[in-house]
């Protein structure tokens, strides 16, 4: 799909197309924005998000790189410091491990250390459920959750995908943008015609409920919403908080929800130990302890790599039933 810079009328797009539109519109709006990555040029990227972009913006704004994640992330940092707005694509989020050092030691710390502004975005297609196995399904957000200086976002809808990517590109800091591969072509929505952003740092209550708060992000938002529908039938009213931004954490929205429901479930696809759910649970146990009326439950993948074979991966990924069971337990608490 080749997008024009500003869509003329309301139109339905997939999550993937929303990402593509955000890139296209930002490139048209701001000539400092340019793209780097493997196979993003004539090929349009492994997921075809930049298809047609090189024709439209030229070889120097849609740059195929050698196979070297550390090298091109480092290059993005340098270009960003010179006033550009690079957006780099990891072919799969999993390969971000190769650029870990540049991200955590250089990009994250430059502003703190000597005031250099590093406005750049790393797009990281992440997550399982796509038969990718241990190296094409990872949720690496936990690795970066712990490196002051980075912002992390993870949209769950086409609307948020577009708005958060635009916000990330306009942000003066390094932002890792986790886009969930499972959602690419599974979600569609009609987006506004006018330019909009989804502000970084704001969670959103995706479903208002009274009884139990599920705090989640990415593909798991939809699992939570499904569970909410099932639970509604038995009179349990789930509130679904979509973090959208992982760092900085929107404590206000989370706390407000849990103050209302007194019950909290952390839900993520990432491994349980050391996941983002742990931090949110810890924040609640520290700052909202008195409002809690039951244990803080966590639903997450077990502490293993993502297995390949279908029965293994199905077992590994959190399921609607897990959310239902946890909510029932808390509701009865």
């Amino acid at each position: 799909m080749t997008t024009t810079a500003q869509p003329a009328m309301p139109h339905e797009v997939t999550y993937l197309e929303a990402i593509s539109e955000a890139l296209d519109e930002e490139m048209a709006r701001d000539e400092r924005v340019f793209l780097m990555g493997e196979d993003i040029g004539p090929y349009g990227g492994a997921f075809r998000i930049t298809e047609g972009f090189q024709k439209k913006y030229g070889e120097w704004r849609v740059l195929d790189t050698p196979l070297s994640e550390s090298g091109f992330v480092g290059a993005a940092i340098g270009a960003a410091m010179m006033g550009m707005r690079p957006v780099v694509e990891m072919q799969f989020a999993d390969f971000i491990s190769c650029a870990f050092d540049q991200i955590t030691e250089v990009a994250a710390k430059n502003h703190y250390r000597w005031g250099a502004v590093v406005p750049m975005v790393i797009r990281a297609p992440f997550g399982g459920g796509v038969h990718g196995g241990p190296f094409h399904s990872e949720c690496p957000e936990g690795w970066f959750f712990h490196s002051p200086g980075l912002k992390l976002v993870a949209p769950s809808t086409p609307y948020d995908a577009k708005g958060l990517l635009k916000a990330a590109i306009r942000d003066p800091n390094p932002v890792i943008y986790f886009e969930h591969k499972f959602l690419y072509r599974r979600l569609k929505a009609v987006l506004p015609t006018e330019d909009y952003i989804v502000p970084i740092g704001k969670a959103e209550v995706k479903r208002v409920g009274r009884d139990v708060s599920v705090i989640t992000y990415g593909a798991m938002v939809h699992l939570a919403l499904e569970a909410a529908d099932l639970l509604a039938k038995e009179g349990i009213d789930l509130e679904v908080v979509d973090l959208r931004t992982l760092i900085p954490i929107d404590k206000d929205t989370i706390f407000e929800s849990v103050r209302k429901t007194s019950k909290a479930i952390m839900l993520h696809e990432d491994n349980k130990t050391g996941g983002i759910g742990a931090e949110i649970a810890a924040l609640l146990a520290e700052e909202c302890f008195d409002c809690l009326d039951g244990p803080i439950l966590r639903i997450a993948a077990p502490d293993t790599p993502v297995p390949f074979s279908t029965p293994l991966e199905e077992f590994f990924l959190p399921k609607v039933g897990d959310v239902v069971a946890a909510a029932r337990k808390l509701a009865a608490y």
Binding site: L67, S68, F92, G132, P134, S309
Partner: protein, 333 residues
């Protein structure tokens, strides 16, 4: 050095066996491709179509106790080390009978008992690992050798550099093959590196390098033999660039429109199986009848393998939890 003459030194049986493995590779991978097109395989399918001679050539030059660390276009090497067609298909189908028991997919097969270090998606990651295996042999004074392979794209990664440098400094018994098939996914060689021959890279390490016709199993075999002999004699590592061409898409979902069709046509004429048949015919080692027999044999073996794989059980979900940590009884105290 006249390859045509030196080939007389290779035993007839060895050449015939290599030919057999070329055919087995081709037939097996074609079968897997067909399964993929029928939607019976989850995940990606990467084949060595048109490049079979590289893995077959190097793996044939090894002794039983040697080790390989293959990459994703080395099916022939897996087969020569004793991984059966049935296990390969089982791996693609995520069955419990494959070397990873369904934990990992496609060419990510490893089995130390058969001297195979499992492939990691992250390209070039296994080059330092191969170097380390060679280091173990050197420390213990064993005369074992490690052979590893990488694509042209993989040579752009930092781990390539760090591995070759260390191997050269310590004169480790490791041979670095490079499958230069002129593309890394959609990225042509000239966007990957500013040199025409990947072998130029070897100079940076003070490492001897050579170029061979990657479509000529005998040439690859002889180059491997020379390098392995050097390594075994304590003379250190060698870099061998195999010129070849990727004849399919990067993976089976890639139509590879970015490859000029003339290039493919030209390389079609140099098909490694064709070349092998010409050689065997010229040497009087085999004829059409033999070729047909081998064709029938490998077809039967692949079909038997498919049957084995299809009848193999899938792993059960909870097996996903097994094996994160090794236990004491898996190692000598």
């Amino acid at each position: 050095m006249d390859v045509a003459e030196m080939v007389n030194d290779i035993k007839r049986a060895d050449l015939l066996q290599m030919y057999y493995y070329l055919r087995l590779t081709r037939t097996l991978e074609d079968r897997i491709t067909a399964l993929y097109r029928q939607g019976r395989i989850m995940g990606g399918v990467y084949t060595s179509n048109g490049m079979e001679a590289i893995a077959v050539g190097y793996a044939s030059a090894l002794e039983r106790d040697d080790i390989i660390a293959p990459y994703h276009r080395d099916m022939g090497a897996f087969l020569i080390r004793g991984i059966t067609p049935g296990e390969v298909i089982a791996q693609y189908l995520g069955k419990r009978t494959c070397p990873t028991k369904g934990k990992d997919g496609n060419v990510h097969m490893g089995d130390l008992k058969r001297g195979v270090i499992g492939f990691v998606s992250h390209l070039a990651d296994n080059l330092p690992v191969a170097t380390g295996a060679a280091l173990a042999f050197k420390i213990r004074g064993e005369s074992r050798v490690v052979v590893t392979n990488t694509g042209d794209g993989g040579t752009s990664r930092g781990d390539f550099h760090e591995a070759l440098n260390f191997a050269a400094v310590r004169k480790l018994p490791v041979v670095f093959f490079c499958n230069n098939n002129q593309y890394a996914y959609s990225t042509p060689l000239h966007l990957q590196m500013a040199i025409r021959d990947v072998v130029e890279r070897a100079k940076a390490y003070g490492m001897p390098g050579e170029i061979v016709d990657g479509n000529d199993m005998a040439a690859v075999y002889m180059a491997a033999q020379r390098a392995i002999r050097r390594a075994r004699a304590g003379e250190g590592p060698t870099f061998i660039e195999c010129k070849t061409m990727r004849m399919h898409g990067h993976s089976e979902h890639d139509s590879a429109k970015y490859v000029p069709s003339e290039l493919l046509e030209e390389w079609k004429k140099r098909d490694p199986i064709l070349k092998a048949e010409q050689l065997l015919t010229r040497l009087g080692y085999a004829d059409e009848i033999v070729f047909r027999e081998v064709g029938e044999r490998v077809k039967k073996e692949v079909e038997a393998g498919l049957e084995f794989a299809e009848q193999s059980p899938l792993p059960k979900g909870p097996e996903a939890l097994e094996g994160v940590f090794a236990t004491d009884d898996e190692v000598k105290p």
